[in-house]
């Protein structure tokens, strides 16, 4: 009797435990057991330029799907020829698909051509377990490439799968570079789910609760860029036709938005949509010209004379000099036992003239009056030596030398003030990116506000239907109006006045300002720099140009910037085509010609 009651009690207690105490947990397990979620892919967001032109589109892409348990191996050779895939590659994909589920469809091959699809469809009745679905892939309706800014999305790699959120699974597309990567959560949308009941072998029996619990996929949000796609196309062709290696960044000085960002050599981002053949990927990766490398944000070269406004600003702001202050340039500067030569003998020079003529002696002198630490302070103020916070992906901090930097690098007391001579004219260890330079030009254009550069202006929130402004930081530099006026006047004269170094940047009918620079390169030809903005009174575009190994800034970089400004402000090229001497520059004429014919 007692034994029976004991058995009853034990079983009742266990029953209570399972059905009441652990009910929640076990109930969840039971749901997971019998319900599978089939994924509905969302449509990735579109990307528009500032004028509303569609820059990055979504087009249909056909993906072949396979249900491993239903596939008949005898049809392997047919499938292999239809898909132009090696049987071994197919088997490998099937094995992976089987690991996910033998009874649910998995992707076998993405992005087959329409012709392949037509052939496949014809044979579909013979191929059990094979289906196809329409998915989306990126397409690029304009001539703009801008691969480093737009970035690209690719099929997720095994390495990515292991560290991204559980949202993704094999075969999913994920933004991997540029805006596609940075705005991945915004662009991708959200997967939807169709719930189906499955039996213990995972076979689909039917919809679950008549689809009441199904979740529609949510479209990704669209991005509206600050980019002017016509300007981008124009700037890209200017670089391409001339065969330049380098970068060009055009920015709206009013808010720091990117009007155009070119890094050459580059690649066509459409090769990354759909399936990138591995040999092409390898070629891009191994190419000695590094087309995947974003020179606009990642290169670091000495800015040369383009940096002189920083030193001038420091001297003026700290009250060390005023506009009357003059230095007599005798064509050389003695420091210690060495004489540093200038290109010309400029004679008695004030700060405006020093910028206009790029007088090195003036700035050597200034550097020792201002002092290293103050120079570093103003360099930082103009945004050098730190990242800009741009939303397109990786960027360099550049290198802004400081006492601390030299102390670490060479040891305390083991470096001399001699280093300052190079820094005074933007050479030496100083390293900046074209992006930083564009921001610097924009700050000089707008009277001293440092903006966080950004490619995206708005995102179109499709849930609320509100165009949301993407916020960005702006930092007032608190430079006195006098200082700004003097720097700007110097830069105006660089372009507009005789004796300026950038007369080739002139645009007819528009007053421009700028500064040339030549980055000394111990390994080869010098790099040409130009920073500038226009119109002078109310600037609406700031430009930075870097042309690697192409010589003087004034002769190579300045005309490019001038044409970009002209194109942006007039929407077309009005300038009489310059007739430079070098044969390479001839192709600038060619491109201008061709752009007039095909706007």
């Amino acid at each position: 009797m007692g034994a029976i009651l004991l058995i009853f009690a034990v079983l009742m207690v266990r029953l209570y435990q399972l059905q009441l105490l652990y009910h929640g947990e076990l109930d969840k397990k039971s749901e997971e057991n019998s319900i599978r979620a089939l994924i509905k892919e969302p449509i990735r967001g579109y990307i528009y330029d500032r004028t509303g032109k569609l820059v990055v589109d979504v087009g249909p892409s056909y993906t072949v799907m396979i249900v491993p348990s239903e596939f008949d191996k005898r049809t392997m050779s047919l499938l292999s020829s239809l898909l132009e895939m090696e049987p071994r590659a197919i088997e490998e994909r099937i094995a992976r698909a089987r690991a996910y589920s033998p009874y649910l469809p998995s992707r076998l091959k993405r992005d087959i051509t329409f012709q392949s699809l037509a052939a496949l469809e014809e044979h579909l009745p013979l191929l059990s377990g094979i289906t196809y679905q329409v998915e989306s892939k990126r397409s690029y309706p304009t001539k703009a490439r801008a691969p480093h800014l737009l970035g690209y999305s690719r099929e997720i790699s095994d390495a990515q799968l292991s560290h991204v959120s559980a949202y993704y699974r094999q075969g999913d597309i994920i933004g991997t570079a540029g805006l596609e990567a940075r705005y991945e959560p915004t662009l991708r949308g959200e997967k939807g789910f169709e719930y189906v009941s499955v039996n213990s072998r995972g076979q689909v029996i039917g919809s679950f609760e008549e689809g009441m619990r199904d979740v529609e996929s949510k479209e990704g949000f669209d991005l509206i860029l600050g980019m002017d796609v016509d300007l981008q196309v124009f700037a890209e062709s200017l670089m391409t036709v001339n065969g330049y290696t380098g970068a060009l960044v055009a920015m709206d000085p009013a808010n720091g938005s990117i009007l155009a960002m070119v890094s050459k050599p580059d690649f066509d981002p459409s090769v990354m949509s759909g399936v990138t053949p591995s040999d092409l990927w390898a070629r891009l990766n191994m190419d000695p010209d590094k087309p995947l490398f974003n020179r606009a944000a990642l290169t670091r070269y000495p800015p040369g004379s383009t940096f002189k406004m920083v030193l001038a600003a420091a001297a003026l702001e700290e009250g060390i000099i005023n506009e009357q202050f003059r230095v007599n340039c005798t064509g050389g500067f003695r420091f210690g036992n060495r004489v540093w030569k200038d290109l010309h003998v400029h004679g008695s020079t004030n700060v405006v003239e020093a910028i206009q003529r790029s007088c090195n002696v003036f700035f050597y002198t200034l550097m020792f009056k201002v002092g290293f630490d103050t120079w570093t302070k103003y360099g930082l103020k103009f945004g050098f030596g730190r990242t800009t916070g741009i939303d397109t992906g990786e960027e360099t901090t550049g290198l802004l030398p400081s006492t601390a930097y030299y102390d670490t690098r060479y040891g305390k007391g083991k470096w001399t003030q001699g280093n300052l001579v190079s820094l005074a004219i933007g050479q030496g260890e100083l390293g900046v990116s074209p992006l930083q330079m564009a921001r610097y030009a924009a700050a000089l254009a707008n009277g001293g506000t440092l903006h966080q550069p950004h490619a995206v202006l708005f995102m179109n929130n499709k849930r609320t239907n509100i165009m949301e402004e993407v916020p960005h930081a702006e930092t007032p530099m608190n430079l006195s109006p006098t200082t700004i006026a003097l720097l700007r006047e110097g830069m105006r004269r660089v372009v507009q006045e005789p004796g300026g170094t950038a007369s080739l940047a002139r645009v007819k009918g528009i007053e421009s300002a700028g500064k040339t620079g030549t980055s000394e390169n111990p390994h080869g030809n010098d790099h040409a720099w130009y920073v500038g903005f226009a119109p002078f009174e109310h600037p609406s575009i700031a430009v930075a140009v870097l042309l690697e190994n192409s010589g003087y800034g004034g002769s190579k970089a300045a005309p490019l910037a001038g044409m970009v400004v002209e194109k942006y402000l007039y929407r077309e090229l009005r300038r009489p085509v310059p007739r430079p001497a070098s044969p390479k520059a001839d192709s600038v004429a060619t491109v201008t010609q061709s752009l007039r014919e095909n706007p």
Partner: protein
């Protein structure tokens, strides 16, 4: 009129049995509903009808005749067990089933009844005394012979059930505590040996203590302890010499969760099924675990999941309550019965039912090893259903004739 009937007809056992069989049919229907095994329900229904006839026949059989036929039936069953070993069909790894023409069955199910009756008949003989070692050995032999035959099939589960009927009957038959302890001690140390050194030492200590407290003379106690030690050591030695895969097999048998893809799979799914039922269950034919066939052949050993999942705590505890009521009633009948044979047989029947209930429901809920024995009245299976209903018939018989000596 009803009072008169009540005097002679055991309504309680009858209706409890019908309730359990009814719940079984409902459960088997659900378990086979969508599994493409609808014929299973139809067959179970027919067997339930046959079982009902057998129950009534057993209820009306004169006790004296039963007692007289006990040994011949027992011998017949032993022969059948031998025959099944020689010509039986192998189903799921054991030779336990044989058929002639369209009819067939598992002799071991009926052998249980025959063994209970034979043991009861032997113990009820006036000449039998359990303090006599020879008689004790005979009593144990009556049970051990079918155990050996069933083990050869091999059907571990059923042989365990045979063994468990021995203790209650001997206890009821007046065996001394020492005898019970001497039988019990080797079993627990054998089990302990499989669970590792700590469990072995613990069960050895327990066995030693049991033998010490119940001892009648030192010699017998020493012999019993010696046998116990020998069993423990031999189990330990055999286990240690087994290849690793066999050891693993035993380990997963004892703790099926070690093997979530094999034996443990059923237990995990069964726990999920029962636990997900909650208080009132998912509704009849709505249990996802049951309807989507997560537990293979659920209608046999894991039938308890069906009331658990589809009727929840309410349904599952009703099954437990019905069982327990039937068992308590059986003990009550054994107490009422003035006939020693009937009384011992009733206890044997209770022992068998209780063992089945404990092991089957215990394994469904993951607290006991997965020993494949069915849940009486609920599990699918003709021989078991009919044998169990026959045993209820016997209980009813003993109730009706409780005043007969």
């Amino acid at each position: 009129m009803i009072d008169y009937l009540k005097e002679y007809f055991d309504f309680k056992a009858f209706f409890l049995c019908l309730a359990l069989v009814g719940m079984g049919l409902v459960s088997v229907y659900s378990a086979t509903y969508d599994a493409g095994a609808a014929a299973i329900f139809d067959r179970q229904l027919i067997w339930a009808g046959g079982g009902l006839v057998l129950l009534l026949v057993m209820a009306l059989f004169p006790i004296k005749t039963l007692q007289r036929l006990a040994f011949p039936t027992y011998i017949l069953m032993l022969v059948l067990l031998l025959v099944v070993l020689l010509i039986g069909k192998t189903t799921s790894g054991s030779k336990s089933w044989f058929g002639i023409g369209g009819l067939g069955g598992q002799p071991s199910e009926f052998a249980k009844v025959a063994t209970i009756l034979a043991l009861a008949a032997f113990l009820s003989k006036t000449t039998t005394s359990l303090s006599n070692v020879r008689h004790l050995v005979i009593a144990a032999g009556i049970v051990l012979v079918p155990i050996v035959l069933v083990l050869m099939q091999p059907d571990l589960g059923t042989s365990v059930v045979f063994f468990t009927m021995l203790l209650p009957i001997l206890y009821w038959g007046g065996a001394s505590n020492f005898v019970l302890a001497a039988i019990f001690a080797p079993i627990i140390v054998a089990a302990g040996a499989l669970f590792g050194t700590f469990a072995l030492l613990f069960t050895l200590a327990l066995a030693g203590a049991m033998l010490y407290w119940t001892r009648e003379n030192r010699f017998a106690a020493a012999v019993a302890l010696g046998i116990t030690l020998a069993v423990a050591l031999s189990v330990q030695t055999v286990y240690d010499r087994m290849p690793a895969y066999q050891q693993k097999r035993i380990a997963t048998f004892l703790n099926s969760e070690l093997d979530p893809r094999g034996a443990g799979y059923n237990v995990v799914q069964s726990k999920v099924a029962i636990g997900s039922g909650g208080v009132f269950g998912k509704g009849y034919l709505q249990g996802t675990q049951t309807q989507l066939n997560f537990i293979p052949e659920q209608w046999t050993d894991f039938i308890f999941c069906v009331p658990g999942e589809e009727f929840g705590f309410a349904g599952a505890s009703l099954v437990l309550i019905c069982f327990t009521a039937l068992l308590l009633h059986g003990v009550h009948v054994a107490g009422l019965s003035k006939n020693k044979f009937a009384s011992a047989a009733a206890i044997g029947i209770v022992g068998v039912f209780a063992t089945h209930m404990l092991i089957n429901i215990g394994m469904s809920m993951g607290i006991l090893p997965v020993i494949g024995i069915p849940l009486p009245f609920l599990s699918y299976g003709g021989s078991a259903l009919m044998a169990n209903m026959a045993m209820v018939g016997l209980l009813m018989n003993f109730y009706s004739n409780r005043k007969e000596r």
